[in-house]
């Protein structure tokens, strides 16, 4: 009898545990902030704290957040911003798990995302919005720029706030390579001359390089614009894999393996093991030369097809617990003051998302006094060679097929 009682109690505890663990916490998911004035939103945010998930592996980005954003938010709006490390995959996993558990008050109020994460979060309805029109500073954003308005060619429709612009560039050591390879023919020539000193990181950077070559094969910067074309993809990707397989014997480790990420490639470039590295930040090369990580002879170039460009954004999860503070933070991050600080080489040196023409004279001054990037690609060259990120289906297919037709082929 005693045992039956104990088992009954245990069953009760377990049932209660299961029941309560399935109950989502109540959040402010139902509040319609578009009906509130900006003043009311700021008032609601005052004295609260917000949590932001972002990639915390970059020294300059961390410095910008810790030394400028966090103290300024506290001082100006009395908002405490807490940073939690995480990027694309972790953000998706978090929000997806919360959605599956029916959690109405999520862990994060803001997240730093780029095209691939935006695409995934939109797939699962994981983002709050549209909200950009509520932000007073949004009218300063260069929204006519397709690279800002379309993330992976998908209209952002107010579901994320542009934060800064990024462009894909190739970095080489001018002391080791007299001329940098630009076209696919140049690369082939270079590989044969200097075997073992080039590789493709098996991550976002490497896949962007592959997409750039796919665009070159397809005939130029606008060749893969618009909806996904199975026919085009089949035709040009087959050529691409054939070309890489024919040449991979000249790659690092004879192309039998590829580094899992760009960090490893950057380290090997810095230590002299590789000749070529990749970056999405135009100021990266200046910052790394200044820090002594890259040799002073490092230079960056744009590939023949052009430079795939995109923007990175701040998103608010659909179940953010403190949306008022999240909105205030978003608005602050696109203020001329914060954007000019972000563009400063002492911080991230990022390209602004604001339209210079929309700024007041005083705000223009903030940008005019910044030290110009020396080794990154100049703005006119970047603008002339800009390629919009192709639609996400290209990324999905290139990711799968690079593994299937190159990595797994002996």
């Amino acid at each position: 009898m005693k045992h039956t009682k104990i088992w009954k109690r245990l069953f009760f505890i377990l049932t209660a545990f299961a029941f309560f663990s399935c109950q989502g916490k109540k959040g402010n998911i139902a509040i319609d902030y578009s009906k509130k004035s900006w003043q009311q939103i700021e008032e609601e945010a005052k004295g609260t704290s917000a949590t932001m998930i972002m990639y915390l592996g970059g020294k300059s980005g961390n410095k910008f957040m810790n030394e400028y954003v966090i103290p300024t938010l506290k001082e100006k709006y009395n908002i405490t911003l807490n940073l939690v490390p995480g990027q694309g995959k972790e953000i998706i996993a978090n929000i997806m798990a919360e959605k599956e558990a029916g959690e109405l008050k999520g862990q994060a109020d803001l997240c730093w995302i780029n095209g691939e994460t935006f695409y995934q979060l939109r797939q699962i309805d994981g983002l709050y919005g549209p909200y950009n029109d509520m932000l007073p500073n949004f009218k300063l954003v260069d929204y006519a720029n397709p690279i800002i308005r379309y993330d992976f060619q998908e209209d952002i429709k107010g579901y994320e706030t542009p934060w800064s612009l990024a462009n894909f560039s190739v970095i080489y050591d001018s002391n080791k390579l007299a001329t940098a390879p630009v076209s696919m023919a140049d690369f082939e020539r270079y590989w044969k001359q200097s075997p073992g000193r080039f590789t493709i990181p098996n991550d976002f950077s490497g896949l962007t390089l592959l997409k750039s070559w796919l665009i070159e094969l397809a005939g130029g910067s606008k060749a893969l614009d618009g909806k996904f074309s199975e026919e085009k993809y089949q035709q040009y990707s087959a050529q691409l894999w054939k070309w890489i397989n024919a040449n991979k014997k000249y790659f690092w480790k004879k192309g039998e393996t590829f580094p899992s990420g760009n960090t490893a490639v950057t380290q090997m470039f810095a230590s002299g093991e590789l000749d070529i590295a990749f970056s999405f930040s135009n100021a990266d090369i200046d910052i790394k030369i200044e820090e002594g990580v890259f040799p002073a002879s490092a230079r960056s170039i744009v590939l023949k097809a052009g430079s795939i460009q995109n923007a990175n954004y701040i998103g608010i999860p659909y179940n953010a617990g403190n949306k008022a503070a999240a909105l205030v933070v978003c608005n602050f991050l696109i203020s001329p003051e914060a954007q000019a600080k972000k563009a400063d080489l002492a911080f991230s040196g990022s390209r602004t998302v604001l339209d210079y023409r929309n700024l007041t004279a005083a705000d223009k001054q903030r940008f005019d006094t910044l030290i110009a990037i020396k080794f990154g690609i100049s703005l006119p060259v970047l603008q002339a060679n800009a390629i919009k990120e192709p639609v996400p289906e290209y990324m999905i297919r290139v990711t799968e097929d690079f593994r299937k037709f190159v990595i797994e082929v002996p």
């Binding site: 088992w7 959605k99 995934q120 699962i124 073992g196 000193r197 393996t257 990711t399 593994r403």
Partner: protein
Amino acid sequence: MLTKTSRYTVYSLLFLFTVLPLLAGFGFALSYSFGITGVLNNGFTLSNWQKLFAEGNIFYSFIYSAGIAIVSLFCAVFVSMLLALKYANSFHKGVLNYLIYIPLAFPGIAAAFLFFQLFTKSGLLSRIFYRLHLINSMNDFPDLVNDAYSISMISCFFFLAVPFFLLLFINIIKAERITEYEQLAATLSATKSQTRWKISVPIMLKKALPNIILYFIFIFGAFEIPLLLGRSHPETISVLAVRKLQRFNLLDLPQGYAVAVLYSLFVLVLLYFLFRSKKMADHA
């Protein structure tokens, strides 16, 4: 002696904090892989499992992970047994007594970085070889990281496992009075090799078997070391599972859970053998 009530309380707590979360995780992964749960799933389907088996990587990954674990364990058990039998007493005193514990304090990721820095073409060994004029350029240094024979990965597991097994064998020698058995056998005119192969090694292996199986599970499921030191193909089972779970294409997620289910089932089978071997070892 525990009373019956407190015994049931202990069992209940154990169930609540160890078995239940595991069962819940396994059930979630299983239902995800069959499309029953998950925001992007549309109900029961076998297609995720079919795709996984059609792709074939899962088989390579199982064989590869098991191969790495067997080779690393064989080397580690062999070397540590040899050292324990030869120098058991030396490890009880002096600096060796402390040194032996150092590799045990290394987390997997730290050991992986250490071996990466040691063995890579621009690493420490390559630099020493270059300075000693043994190679003409650092690029001539052999491929030991992300290499075809998984040398750096096996060396790293070996480095972590040797001290563990060394301590284990030293304790077994002491607890099982192996030295006394050896002396007894010698008085009965057994040769040195007969004593070693017919008495010491079988006793030590039998007693260490549960730990060997546990360590096999540890290496089989290790993630950081193969991620950093392994190749992009073939992948170990954990690297494959994580890749599938973190793919850009969210529709591949159920395949990642299917890998996790297979891995868990394999570990459960191993645990069954572990309990059997433990029973045998206890009765030996």
